[in-house]
């Protein structure tokens, strides 16, 4: 049955309850977007100037070579990306499962299990993996992932459980299936919290990937380690600066991704 609105309704009711203007709180000012990259570029420039003006000895020249650093950076990013990806494919599905009503009895057990991963220091995990399994790239990726699964898992669960019950009830009440409620309502609404967890994981991973150098996984950690072992503190310092710049850059990019992935209307 179709109905036409009455003019009367418009006349008497149209005007009240003026809606608030769309405040785009989430979009940062251009200045805030530019601050971090400019700062990082400046640090890199200063480091470059320092290295290029320095009279390098043979060990330093080998380590502080542009191609060498680029290769280590690539390894570092691969460690970070793969471990974070692993976290993503483990933590998010498990987080979803643990928040379903049928999983309620096992949730505390599961959380305790993932807690162990985070409680053991990464360097300890790395050594255990290296001794029990192997050294190299893959054990490092897995150790990193074991360490950062918990924050993402926890954020996934928090993100899903904080969705307003009335929103879920109205969705179910209109005849959306449980799966549709999950994919179209719960997950989109949980994205900001899940993303915050992922960003934490990414930042931790990019930092701790440095330790991979101890068990032969490469990465920028090699600069630091080789600086120590060959008694060249300059190499260690440059390595440290590069790791810090990379970590801040990754965090900065993840922050931008967070802004863009956050659903409109929140």
């Amino acid at each position: 049955m179709s109905t036409t609105p009455t003019d009367q309704a418009k006349a008497t009711l149209g005007g009240y309850g003026a809606p608030s203007k769309d405040r785009s709180r989430r979009s940062r000012s251009l200045g805030r977007y530019l601050f971090m990259p400019v700062l990082l570029a400046l640090v890199l420039l200063l480091t470059y100037l320092s290295v290029s003006r320095r009279d390098l000895d043979s060990v330093e020249a080998k380590r502080l070579d542009f191609d060498f650093i680029l290769a280590r950076t690539r390894e570092h990013l691969e460690l970070t990306a793969l471990s974070t990806l692993l976290v993503l494919v483990i933590a998010i599905p498990v987080g979803i499962l643990l928040t379903r009503s049928f999983a309620r009895p096992v949730t505390p057990v599961a959380i305790a299990l993932f807690n162990i991963g985070q409680a053991v220091p990464t360097i300890g995990l790395l050594l255990i993996f290296a001794i029990a399994w192997n050294i190299g790239f893959l054990p490092t990726v897995i150790a990193l992932a074991a360490y950062t699964t918990l924050p993402v898992l926890r954020n996934t669960m928090v993100g899903l459980t904080q969705v307003d019950d009335s929103v879920i009830e109205s969705a179910r009440g209109m005849g959306m299936t449980k799966l549709a409620v999950l994919t179209r309502i719960e997950l989109p609404l949980a994205v900001p919290v899940i993303m915050a967890g992922l960003r934490t994981a990414l930042t931790i991973n990019v930092g701790t990937a440095t330790l991979g150098a101890f068990i032969g996984a490469g990465g920028l950690g090699s600069l630091i380690v080789s600086g120590f072992s060959s008694n060249h503190p300059y190499i260690t310092i440059v390595g440290g600066i590069l790791v810090a710049v990379l970590a801040l850059l990754v965090d900065y990019l993840a922050g931008i991704a967070e802004d863009f992935l956050r659903p409109k209307g929140l």
Binding site: T3, A18, P19, S20, D22, S166, V167, S170, M174, L189
Partner: protein, 411 residues
Amino acid sequence: MTDPQQGHETGSASDAGKIEIRLENLAKRFPGVSEPAVDDLTMEIPKGEIVILVGPSGCGKTTTMKMINRIIEPTSGRIVLDGEDVTKVNPDQLRRRIGYVIQQIGLFPHQTIADNIATVPRLLGWSKERTSERVDELLEMVSMDPGRYRKRYPKELSGGQRQRVGVARAMSADPDVMLMDEPFGAIDPITRDRLQNEFLRLQEQIKKTIIFVTHDIDEAIKMGDRIAILREQSHIAQFDTPERILVNPADDFVADFIGRGASLKRLSLSRVRDVELHDWPTTQEGASPEEIRRLLDGSDKSAVLVLDEQRRPLRWVNAEHLSRSGNGRGLDDVGLPAEAVVQPNATLSDTLNEMITARYSTAIVVDSSNAYQGIVDIDTINETVRSMRRAERGRLRGDDAADTDFDDEDD
């Protein structure tokens, strides 16, 4: 549908007495609770009526309502919807046939108003064009400009607007049945009153079968075609029209629940269009002071109501205003604004409320285009209350020798 009144009458004639929903021995026991939340409820809900479930907190009214769309699965009993037993059908499919409005509304915050309203049409696989047309139609139905609101997000709306969107969303696939759980409960009293009136006006056109849960007896009396007053475990204390419940409460529980002031509450049952309007001297905007003075002299009223060209009430002008307007001031600036304006569908209770604070103890009645129709004064209301009471007494005497004492008869 040029004449909603006519649509209303033909609709009710063909549907008269038809049962839309039948609940048979419905019961709900929650695990770990010894007492059932709902115990053996049987009731019939007629097509096209608003049936109110009202009762104290914890009486099981919300549980009862939620069993109809099986948000809560009944432990035993049957739900029959339009002749079909839906107790065991796919609940998701069932819910797409039933509109659902809850107090917190539950709009999807990450979706636009248009997307929110389009939820059920999309579940039903409607085409984009049909869905989009329906969204516009519904927004207009709840008096929101589609061009302005389609693309907005729920957080950009006021509470009243969100509630309208909630109602529009529940009606999106034009369900025959709507379930409303305290739909106006979380809204400020002024907006609530408007939304209630607006909803009643809408219902006159759409004639849905509505189950409406509230704990507020005044809302029940205002909104309901029938009221089921429930006591604990959803036992029906009385299921009847508001008039009969007010006149003849089944027992002390019902009488207590209605509370004091049944006469005043009865005023919510009559509307301005049901009473005879009185005349008041009026004049057009731009009339000369002499004209107004002549009108005043020829009337027993102390003021004249000035109308604009579309006959919309503007101001009250009395003799004193006229004398002041003499000193070079035009007639347009003098007088008092015409307040206490009501439409024919306003309840006498609302009208009385307006009237008490208004000048000359009158409410101005306007039609749907806000053109002046007449006035209602305190005598009209008085007379209405008296005649209602007479009619009820007559009916009761005819019915049975009920020993109801009319404790409100002499107030």
